[in-house]
């Protein structure tokens, strides 16, 4: 006779059905716990994935640049042979050093041949003042080869208006970040000017509006062609400040960055160290989320524990007569464990469904979120792993919560109850 047609399972189901209200309350406890689990974990992970994706899409996997701020040794120090000598140089200022990556073209060619690399893009970055009539805003002008840039950062995906490739064909084209355009009150095809820190002024035409979702970038960045950036800085045609690299496998970023640093002598930064502070925040965020979820599941565990204890106290006579008629301690334990697991299994299934529904409903609400990143909808990570994990966790919690009452029931002394008074 299988367990499901046997008397123990039948008694368990009868107990649960006859105590409908308590059973449902206990189930809802599990349902709630698991639904919140899926909702919270999905929300957190969805947000983080979106953010990381956007960040990776806008940060080079490896960026080679000339870090002029790096403290350098004085000439005196470099030329001294006495290692024990002291040097006191007051008010040492950085040399007027160009942030140029010299031999940029050659580095570009070498890097391009590296089989681990999927794309390379030269870059010139400079502070600039953007003006449209009387309104003005400061930001950064990014001189790029738009085709290469697009291959690395998928710039085209984020174009709100205009055509990306016009940057190559329109000689005075500029693509503004959405926030920057808003500050200036600029629209597509408006004419505007850029002023560089060196005082060079260029007349430009807005050929596109761009929005990545990362507020900081959208508020300050504008794309122009490399040629125009060089004009703006008054430099020759081989001048670049950065080389952005996209890797086939982003996990290699750290080692490749180190390798290039040693090879070319310029600073090479990988995407992880560039965004270190953010990943630190994510870690804490995850910890908080899982703590909250954990406490919710503990609360629902206590719900099950309570209700089973109530059932057991009420069912003492049943337990006693079952034992007298030949049910073993083990059978009684299984009986109440079955009850808690049935609560867990069905409450959990409902929880998976409710969690899914909550994600769909909340994810469907249109909202204009602006902050760290801007999104139109909350994004959820509805990976099956979360559902599996939440469900298993729920079952373990219910089994644990059911085990103590079940053991207690198994230990009930039948004689105490059955004995005539």
């Amino acid at each position: 006779m299988s367990f499901f047609t046997g008397p123990v399972f039948r008694i368990a189901m009868t107990h649960l059905i006859s105590k409908k209200r308590q059973t449902i309350v206990a189930m809802l406890g599990v349902t709630f716990g698991i639904a919140i689990f899926i909702f919270q974990a999905g929300l957190m992970s969805g947000f983080q994935t979106t953010f990381i994706e956007e960040t990776i899409n806008t940060t080079a996997n490896v960026r080679i640049y000339n870090d002029v701020q790096e403290a350098r040794k004085s000439i005196l120090q470099l030329n001294s042979s006495d290692s024990k000598a002291w040097f006191l140089i007051h008010n040492q200022k950085p040399k007027d050093e160009d942030p140029q990556v010299k031999n940029g073209k050659q580095i570009l060619e070498i890097v391009e041949k590296d089989p681990r690399i999927s794309g390379v893009s030269p870059f010139i970055g400079t502070q600039a003042l953007f003006r449209l009539g009387l309104s003005q805003a400061s930001g950064r002008a990014s001189g790029v080869n738009i085709e290469r840039e697009n291959a690395i950062f998928d710039v085209g995906k984020h174009m709100k208006e205009g055509n990306l490739l016009d940057l190559e064909t329109v000689p005075d084209g500029i693509i503004l970040g959405e926030g920057l355009a808003m500050k200036l009150g600029a629209k597509l095809n408006d004419n505007m000017t850029i002023v560089s820190p060196k005082g060079v002024t260029l007349d430009m035409r807005i050929i596109g509006i761009h929005k990545t979702g990362i507020t900081e970038l959208d508020n300050t960045r504008a794309f122009i062609s490399i040629r125009n950036a060089q004009k703006l800085l008054g430099v020759d045609g081989s001048y670049i400040t950065d080389i952005n690299i996209k890797l086939k496998n982003i996990d290699q970023a750290e080692s490749i960055a180190k390798e290039y640093h040693d090879k070319f002598g310029y600073k090479a930064q990988d995407w992880k160290s560039a965004n270190e502070s953010i990943f630190g925040i994510f870690k804490i965020q995850n910890m908080i989320t899982y703590l909250i979820i954990f406490s919710i599941l503990i609360v629902s565990g206590f719900g099950i524990f309570n209700i089973l204890m109530m059932i057991i106290y009420e069912k003492m006579p049943d337990i006693a007569i079952l034992k007298a008629t030949g049910f073993k301690d083990k059978d009684i334990k299984i009986l109440f464990l079955t009850e808690s697991l049935v609560i867990g299994i069905f409450g959990g299934l409902l929880g998976l469904f409710v969690g899914f529904l909550m994600q769909k409903i909340v994810g469907g609400i249109k909202m204009d979120l602006r902050g760290f990143v801007s999104m139109e909808h909350l994004k959820f990570n509805s990976s099956p792993a979360f559902y599996v994990f939440a469900y298993c966790f729920g079952l373990v919690a219910t089994a644990l919560a059911g085990y103590i009452p079940a053991r207690k029931a198994a230990k009930v002394d039948a004689i105490d109850i059955l004995r005539s008074k």
């Binding site: 046997g6 009868t14 079952l322 008629t325 030949g326 073993k328 004995r419 005539s420």
Partner: protein, 227 residues
Amino acid sequence: MPENKYILETKKLDKFFRDPVDFQALKNVNIAIKRGEFVSIIGSSGSGKSTLLYVLSTLDTDYDGQIFFDGDDLSKKTKNELADIRNAKIGFVFQFHYLLPEFTVIDNVMLPALKLGKYSEPEIRKRAQEKLAMLGLEDQAEKKANKLSGGQQQRAAIARALINDPDIIFGDEPTGNLDSKNAQNAFDIFKELKTKYNQTILIVTHDMNLAAQTDRSIRLHDGEVVI
């Protein structure tokens, strides 16, 4: 295999309660119950008659001495083996009926047989119906146990005790919670089980009137058997 003449036999049976104070509840009890006997245990309250019944019926395992059930020494059995013996060979009727209130009468009667698993479920149902019919409850079978009258509930409990065709039925004041008419009624059933089906029965009672109707009485006084 020759059946033992005695279904139940004790040798130098002692029992102590340690809590709250040391107290000897049974002193050197040596009794034997033959197959087919209807025996009552009598005595004033506190004489140890219920204690003896629970020790004999394997529910209480904390005793000194030996108990032979159908020739087997019970003191050597594990708890699980004792549970199997209770399931297959012992029927219980208590002062209160202890039917599971959410189950129908027939389900209650069937439970010990389902646990035993000797017969298929339809067969068990058929047998349960027969037992209920024997006790005049055939038309109550599908009712919830808690919808029956007190006398009917006790008869259903007797049917439950009979379902696995036990070697012996133990009754702890089985009529104690019934009015005199129902008590006599239930008692008549026991007598009929004995005469018609040669059922071995051992009951604890304080009702001398009923005890007088059994084959013999074992009188306990302060834990000792007095004749």
